[in-house]
C-alpha cells in the first residue's frame, strides 16, 4: 500500500462542553477515493473542517505527506494542497465562471507597473479546464448562476485540481442533485482520482459512495465505526452502520483487520 498523503490521528474537537469528535483516526492515500459516511450530526462536517483548517483540533495530530501539520486558517491548508468543495459554498452564482474559477488565486499581469487581473488568461484556462472535465461552456464570462448544480460542483472541483490540490475534500457534492447531474459529478470524481489526487468524498448516500469509493469510513456520534475496503462490505451493512450500528456486532468479522 502506498504512503498516506494525509493522516489524522485521534482527532478530538470540543465546542465548549459538546464533544463533536472524540478520537477519529483516518488515512487517505494518493489516487484513492475515501468515502466518509455518516448520518446527520455524526461529526462529518466538523471532521472535514478540521482537515481543511477551518477548525483547530482540540486534541490529536494531522500528518500531511508524513510531516506533522498545524493549520491556522483555511489558507494554510490550501497552500499545503488540501482543497475543500463545500456543497452550498463552492461558487458565487452572480459571478462569472472565470471569476469564480480564479477566486483567491487571480492571475495578474503587469501593465505600466500596475497589476491587472489577466482576464484573457483566466478565460482561456477556465475554458480548457472545464473542457477536460467534460463541460462545454458558452463563454467563460457566463455567470455561474446559469449553470446546473452538477456543473457548479464540477467547476469547483476543476478549480481545486487546477490549483494543485493533492487532497480534495468534497462535502456532500451530490446531495442536492438529480440523477444525471449526480452521475456527472461521480464521473468527475473518478476522473480526478485517476490523476493521482486523493479524494475524500463525504456523503450519506451509500449508493453514491459505492459507485466511486475505494474505501469507506463510517462516522457515528463523533467516532469512527471502522473502515472497509471496496468489496469487503455490502451496501446494506454500510447502511446499517450509518443508522447507528445496531448490527455492529454481527459485522465485526467482516471488518476485522481493516480497522
Amino acid at each position: 500500500m502506498s504512503k498516506a498523503i494525509i493522516e489524522m490521528k485521534k482527532i478530538e474537537k470540543h465546542f465548549g462542553s459538546v464533544i463533536a469528535l472524540s478520537g477519529v483516526s483516518l488515512k487517505v492515500m494518493a489516487g484513492e477515493c475515501l468515502c466518509l459516511l455518516g448520518d446527520n450530526g455524526a461529526g462529518k462536517s466538523t471532521f472535514i473542517k478540521t482537515m481543511s483548517g477551518v477548525h483547530k483540533p482540540s486534541l490529536g495530530e494531522i500528518y500531511f505527506d508524513g510531516k506533522p501539520m498545524n493549520f491556522d486558517c483555511p489558507r494554510d491548508a490550501i497552500t499545503a494542497g488540501i482543497a475543500t468543495v463545500y456543497q452550498d459554498l463552492a461558487m458565487i452564482p452572480l459571478m462569472s465562471v472565470a471569476r469564480n474559477f480564479f477566486m483567491g488565486n487571480e492571475p495578474t499581469k503587469k501593465i505600466a507597473g500596475i497589476s491587472f487581473f489577466d482576464h484573457k488568461h483566466a478565460n482561456e484556462v477556465t475554458m480548457t479546464e472545464m473542457k477536460k472535465m467534460g463541460i462545454h461552456l458558452r463563454s467563460a464570462d457566463q455567470a455561474v448562476g446559469t449553470l446546473s448544480g452538477g456543473e457548479r460542483q464540477t467547476v469547483a472541483i476543476a478549480r481545486a485540481v487546477h490549483f494543485g490540490a493533492k487532497v480534495l475534500i468534497l462535502d456532500e457534492p451530490t446531495s442536492a442533485l438529480g440523477v444525471r447531474q449526480t452521475a456527472n459529478v461521480l464521473a468527475t470524481i473518478d476522473n480526478v482520482r485517476k490523476r493521482g489526487i486523493a479524494v475524500v468524498f463525504i456523503t450519506h448516500n451509500v449508493r453514491h459512495a459505492m459507485a466511486v469509493g475505494d474505501r469507506f469510513t463510517v462516522l457515528n456520534r463523533g467516532k469512527t465505526l471502522g473502515t472497509a475496503k471496496r468489496g469487503e462490505i455490502t451496501p446494506e451493512e454500510l447502511q446499517n452502520l450509518m443508522a447507528g450500528g445496531q448490527t455492529l456486532a454481527s459485522l465485526e468479522g467482516s471488518l476485522a483487520g481493516t480497522v
Partner: protein, 396 residues
C-alpha cells in the same frame, strides 16, 4: 449483493457517459453554428450588463427633459454646469457606496461623515488656525480611521453593517454639532475661503480647471457672460470645478479596481458569498474594512470640495446623503445584498438622480413632487434591473 449494487450504479452512470461524449463532440459536430452563436452572444453580452438599466434610464431622462425643459435654460452652459455639478456630487459618494455595497455592506453614516469632515476642516483651519492643507490631510486621515473603525466593528462583531453604520450616523452627527457648538457657539463655521487663500492643497478640491477655454468661449459669445459687477465680461461658467474632475477620476479608479484587478474580484467575492470567498483564501474582512475606508474617503472628498467651494461648513451638511448615494447605486443596477453591480452603472444612476432633481426645477414642476418622481424612478429602475440581472445570472 455488492456486485448488484455496483452494476446498478454503473448502469446509473452509463446513460450519462455517452452523453458526456456527446457534449465533447458538440463543438466539432456543430462547429460553424457554434461560432455564430458565440458572436451573437458576445454582442448580447456587451449590451446586457448591470449598466443596461442605467443607460436606458439616462437616455430616457435626457429625452424627457429635452422635450419638457429645453427652453428653460437647462441646456445652456450655466444650466448644464448646474446639473452636472449636482450629478458629480452624487457620483462621488455613489462610487464609494457602490464598491462597499458590492462587497456586501452598507454605510449609512455617509451623510454624517460629510457633515463631520466638513466641520473638522473648518474648525481646524479657521478656529484653531491650522494651515488649510494640514487641516485637510488630518481630516482625511481621521475620516478614513473612522471608516476603518466602522468596518472593524462590523467584521469583528458580525453585526449587520446597517445597524453599525446607523449608530455612526448618529454618533458622527452628534459629535459634529457638539464640536461646533462647544468651540464656536455656532453650527455654521465660515471664513474658510479666506483661510484657504494661497494654500497649495485647497485648489485641488475647490479650484476650477480649463478656465482659459471657458473665458475664450465667453469672449466668442458661445456662453453667457456676466453683465455687471466685479466679474463683468467673465463667462458665467468659469471652468470645470474640481468636484467634477474628482468624480471622473474616482469613477475611473473604482471601475478599473473592480473589473480589472485581483482586488476587484475579491470585492465581488466578499459580497457574493463571504464564506465561499473565505474558504478559497480571500481576506474578506480586510476587503470590507478597506471598502468602508474608501467610502469614508469619498465622503471626505465630497465634503472638502463643498467646503472649499462655498467657504463654510455646517453641522447639518450632508443630511440624508447616504440614501441618495444608495439610491444612485441601486438605480445603477447593483444588488442590495452585495456581490453584483457596476461603478459605471452607479455613476449613471447618480447622473439620473442629479439630472432629475435639478431638471424638475427647470421644468417648473412643483418642488414637493420631487420625491414622488424619485420614488417612481427608484421603483422602476429596480424592477428593470432585477429583470436584467436575472437574464445575466440565471438567478431565480
Amino acid at each position: 449483493m455488492i456486485e448488484q449494487t455496483a452494476s446498478q450504479s454503473i448502469s446509473n452512470s452509463t446513460p450519462d457517459e455517452p452523453q458526456a461524449t456527446e457534449k465533447l463532440d458538440e463543438p466539432q459536430a456543430t462547429g460553424k453554428s457554434d461560432e455564430r452563436v458565440k458572436t451573437r452572444s458576445s454582442f448580447r453580452q456587451a449590451l446586457i450588463g448591470p449598466e443596461l438599466g442605467g443607460i436606458c434610464g439616462t437616455i430616457l431622462v435626457f429625452v424627457f427633459f429635452f422635450l419638457t425643459a429645453s427652453d428653460s435654460g437647462m441646456f445652456s452652459a450655466a444650466g448644464v454646469m448646474n446639473w452636472s455639478v449636482v450629478s458629480a456630487q452624487f457620483i462621488i459618494i455613489a462610487v464609494g457606496a457602490c464598491l462597499l455595497m458590492i462587497s456586501g455592506e452598507f454605510d449609512l453614516s455617509v451623510g454624517s461623515m460629510i457633515g463631520f469632515s466638513g466641520m473638522s476642516i473648518a474648525l481646524l483651519a479657521v478656529t484653531f488656525g491650522w494651515p488649510v492643507w494640514l487641516a485637510i490631510i488630518t481630516t482625511f486621515i481621521l475620516c478614513m480611521a473612522i471608516g476603518a473603525l466602522i468596518g472593524w466593528v462590523v467584521t469583528k462583531t458580525g453585526l449587520p453593517s446597517f445597524i453599525v453604520s446607523l449608530a455612526f450616523l448618529f454618533i458622527l452627527r452628534g459629535l459634529t454639532i457638539f464640536a461646533a457648538i462647544a468651540t464656536t457657539n455656532k453650527t455654521i463655521v465660515g471664513g474658510i475661503r479666506v483661510a484657504a487663500e494661497g494654500d497649495w492643497l485647497a485648489p485641488l478640491f475647490g479650484g476650477k480647471v480649463f478656465t482659459g477655454v471657458f473665458q475664450w468661449m465667453g469672449n466668442q459669445g458661445w456662453i453667457d457672460t456676466f453683465s455687471g459687477g466685479l466679474k463683468k465680461g467673465q463667462p458665467v461658467v468659469e471652468g470645470i470645478p474640481m468636484l467634477m474632475v474628482w468624480a471622473f477620476v474616482l469613477v475611473l479608479f473604482a471601475h478599473f479596481l473592480l473589473t480589472k484587478t485581483k482586488f476587484g474580484n475579491w470585492i465581488f467575492a466578499s459580497g457574493g458569498n463571504a464564506q465561499a470567498a473565505l474558504y478559497v483564501g480571500v481576506p474578506v474582512n480586510k476587503v470590507k474594512i478597506l471598502m468602508f475606508m474608501f467610502t469614508a474617503f469619498c465622503a471626505c472628498v465630497f465634503a472638502t470640495s463643498q467646503v472649499m467651494e462655498f467657504g463654510s461648513a455646517g453641522a447639518d451638511r450632508g443630511l440624508l446623503k447616504e440614501f441618495e448615494a444608495i439610491i444612485s447605486v441601486v438605480i445603477g443596477g447593483a444588488l442590495l445584498t452585495g456581490g453584483y453591480g457596476s461603478v459605471i452603472g452607479a455613476a449613471l444612476g447618480a447622473i439620473i438622480f442629479g439630472v432629475v432633481q435639478q431638471g424638475l426645477f427647470f421644468a417648473g414642476v412643483e418642488s414637493s413632487l420631487f420625491r414622488v418622481f424619485l420614488g417612481t424612478i427608484l421603483l422602476f429602475s429596480v424592477i428593470l434591473n432585477t429583470y436584467i440581472r436575472r437574464m445575466i445570472t440565471g438567478e431565480k
